[in-house]
Symmetry: C2
Subunit: 550 residues, 2 copies
């Protein structure tokens, strides 16, 4: 035998997977391709390369070194795209600040990420002014603005972005370094607790781009992604790098459109005037676009659209298909970079009616290449049968998952318990491999070792004509482990005419027909006057558990 | 600043790029998809997984350990595909023996690669019997055969492939290991010298698969690669893993057809009966398929076909387009895993006539993502202008290039001189980024520091009505470095009617019109009686140089 481990010593033929490798070919092969901001500012890929080099000089001139963290508060812009490249390419970490957090939470994330430099859009100055006195780590501030006139501010800016770029050199020789160097960080927000930082290396972002691209080539129904496509994100760049698609669009060398802050008017306008053909958004945005008074005027036929962030309803999907939109589901989360699945359709499925297609297009979908996604039994950790019925938690391995939560060993260990990343999503999988998410683990009820979906029970009860509102929680039970407890508010006119047993019987009929787990026969129903909500109007199961299970 | 180098210590969230990761999803998502051998033997992807596990048990049972080398002599088969996976997945190296080499060369490669186990198709027993007495390293032989009856042989086989598989366990837990572990090796043959071994790691084969897939998704004219596609290679599996496409086809989970030895009848028959939609071959094979008497009978419309190995002529390309074949060029070589470029067409180009499309489809093409391909000045090493005229050598960096020639430090250093892999191909690049290969470096002539293509000059002179045969070599010249010397054989009936000056003038007219480099005015023409050839009928420039430049 010979020694077959090829040495890791860096050498000429060692090719680290660095973000700069996404940029080279598109810039040289498509130098005149456009990058458009709000339909007003237009740059080319040739400009992009030049501006990334200038930006690198600005950053290093301001003392940013490899390993430092550069934070950004901006809406989707050409500037953000430039930062997506320039910051990691000098070996620094890009912190994309979630501008929708409260000022206190933003302060927390700036401190926690130990940001060294902060670039801020003038629109967010009111937030920054509130917290600046308490920011410890930031050594310099750069102003981003769309206005001609500089805003009034007490913040001692080192300069304005465009002026700094104009004054910097357009030459920069980006170095090679270890592909496992951290490139980005950002914060996720759950319903409870402090924001948690996730982070991704150059290697991970490059492999995510390649993996998504490898799958996208097989996903679109009526054609390939090609040089004529025009990309516009409608999920924000501060959140999981706009699903990583700006990196992919750049690698493809296609025209890109950045819309700034999302307003339906502007988005539709840009889709029409810039001839956008490829985008991604949450169902709410799709709904908003379709229902907008101007929507009918805009030709949406052929638009390729990935839907994620929440389940798409079949009705919404059908509506989009009727407008000619090639809409399908992608699934992932902040911790997963994010994309793990696409609801790919086979040619046979594509021959189906819109309603038949919607059945598949609304599913969570099939794993991307290299994504080892398993639906596992909550007790044993073994994979559940692919029968479309056996629910389990989605756990995953892939080359592009966060290695944990930043500076939080305890929750990182929990996230990666047993060697797989635990998504907290509950799903079933059918015999074709398609995954369908049914729940979050914290909302399922374990009855006799089997997972019963509280969302499914709530959905059934909401269909009873007498029910105004319903929430289902798990009630500890000596014999069964847990039993589902439905808290129901009746419509005022139905009060006294429908009893708890009637409602339990109503659910049981679904079980008798085999439409839900047999275990729902253990359901208890309790009529209540009101259901407790959180400050943002969501049902507060935490409060309900405290109140009714004490 | 925080420490941003994510540690390399293997851990739960460390995801090495191993060949086994190409196999998992397709097997679980498409278990019933078929793998067909010669239209006779049919397995499913479920079988593939099971057979790969059995094969791993057979190999380890025969004493094959991580780092050992397993050699194969077979035509394209389901068995070869199984070996593509099983051998690297146990940490061993797969040596795909070029069965077209002479027995002596095969013996040399077996010795040089230090093969431990050899699997051989009964068709190659006559070759093996000739050399077996002189094979030192091989500890065991396994017979591969399509026949019912075992062949007569003096070789002490440890068993026959199917019998060994049948007797082995179908369970095997493939381990994780370092992605830089060598997975494959095979030998290239130039026109001179001993075969040279190139080698690829798991990481390189996985990244090649991802990179090619990412590009293929954008390359096909009239549709995507999809679940309904059917793949059949028509470049042999022993040569650069059939361009790596069997790995890609497996990752895609599509039906695969392996034809055994290539016969035009069988190939057309398989294309028709198995409904092949995706293949790759050299121009000669395409020509042979189109000219075959049965070709008209077979519907080739929609066939996706990558052409490589040699330049495709426009006439052949047009003929293929007329039959509805979506044919385009891919470029690469043994040392590059192999694919570096595809001749991608933009939507505007696709709107052109077949003749206009052929102009692009016959080009070497555009770099794949992550392929840093440069056409450089032979003197300075600087990139040549993208003017479609300035010739230079193609040098390249990519994540999937051989790190050198096996156990040959000297030629490895030369291959990687200056940190780029030197392809030895001479090309020009146009303003759109499309590369066009014009020559091999050893066939160009450096006139006043500029490269003049001997092939181009030969092509021009061959168009003169009096010329029967021509070869151009470089003659050392004190003033110009080199001057082109054309050795011309006239047609018998033209002898005495056309002189050396007439021919030189004929070439000069092309230069005057700006169709070739001005330097060709330095051409000298010499009329000769015959042009020396090699044993296989190619012009022997080595002999010509010895004879006319002494």
């Amino acid at each position: 035998m010979t020694d077959t481990l090829i040495p890791r010593t860096p050498s000429a033929y060692d090719y680290p997977l660095l973000i700069k490798s996404l940029l080279r070919n598109p810039v040289v092969d498509n130098p005149d391709q456009e990058i458009v901001y709000r339909g007003v500012i237009r740059h080319t890929y040739r400009d992009l390369r030049e501006r990334v080099r200038r930006l690198a000089n600005v950053l290093t001139g301001l003392g940013v070194k490899a390993g430092d963290t550069v934070a950004v508060m901006d809406w989707d812009s050409h500037r953000y795209l430039e930062l997506f490249f320039a910051v990691p390419m000098i070996g620094a970490v890009l912190h994309t600040i979630n501008v929708r957090l409260s000022p206190e939470q933003i302060l927390y994330t700036i401190d926690h990420a130990e940001d060294d430099l902060l670039l801020v859009n003038s629109e967010f100055l009111p937030i920054l002014e509130q917290i600046r006195g308490r920011i410890d780590t930031v050594r310099g501030y750069v102003l981003l603005t769309d206005e001609e006139k500089m805003p009034e501010s007490h913040i001692p800016f080192v300069g304005e972005y465009e002026a700094l770029l104009a004054a910097a050199s357009g030459e920069y020789d980006f170095p090679d370094f270890d592909e496992n160097t951290r490139a980005t960080t950002f914060y996720t927000t759950g319903t409870t607790g402090l924001p948690k930082g996730v982070y991704f290396s150059h290697r991970q972002l490059v492999l995510h781009t390649m993996g998504v691209m490898a799958s996208l080539g097989t996903v679109f129904a009526h054609g390939r992604l090609h040089q004529g496509d025009v990309y516009m994100p409608i999920t924000p760049m501060f959140h999981v790098h706009a699903w990583g698609v700006p990196y992919l669009a750049t690698m493809l060398g296609i025209k890109q459109v950045y819309p700034g802050r999302y307003s339906p008017d502007l988005l539709l306008d840009l889709i029409e005037k810039e001839r956008v053909t490829f985008t991604h958004c949450v169902p709410t945005i799709l709904h908003m676009l379709l229902k907008h008074p101007h929507a009918k005027r805009v030709d949406l036929a052929g638009l390729k659209m990935i839907i994620g962030g929440a389940a798409m309803s079949r009705a919404l999907c059908c509506e989009a298909l009727e407008r000619g939109i090639d809409v399908f589901t992608g699934y992932g989360m902040s911790e997963t970079c994010p994309i793990l699945t696409f609801s790919r359709l086979t040619p046979e499925m594509l021959a189906g009616s819109p309603a038949e297609q919607a059945e598949v297009r609304c599913l969570t979908g099939l794993s991307l290449p290299f994504v080892d996604l398993r639906v596992v039994d909550p007790e044993t950790g073994a994979e559940q049968p692919r029968d479309g019925r056996s629910a389990g938690e989605i756990v995953v391995r892939a080359p592009w998952l966060t290695q944990g939560y930043l500076k939080d060993h305890r929750t990182s260990e929990k996230l990666w318990e047993g060697g797989f990343l635990h998504t907290g999503d509950v799903a079933v999988r059918d015999e074709r491999g398609y995954v369908r998410i049914t729940d979050r683990t914290k909302d399922v009820i374990k009855v006799a070792g089997e997972w019963v979906s509280s969302l499914e029970l709530e959905d059934i009860l909401a269909h009873h004509p007498a029910v105004a509102e319903v929430a289902v929680i798990g009630q500890p039970d000596e014999k069964w482990g847990e039993r589902p407890l439905a808290l129901v508010v009746l419509k005022p006119e139905e009060a006294g005419r429908v009893g708890e047993k009637d409602l339990a019987h109503f659910v049981r009929e679904y079980a008798d027909k085999g439409m839900v787990s047999k275990q729902v026969v253990l359901l208890k129903v309790r009529l209540v006057d009101a259901i407790d909500k959180t400050s943002v109007g969501k049902i507060s199961k935490v409060t309900l558990r405290e109140k009714y299970l004490a």
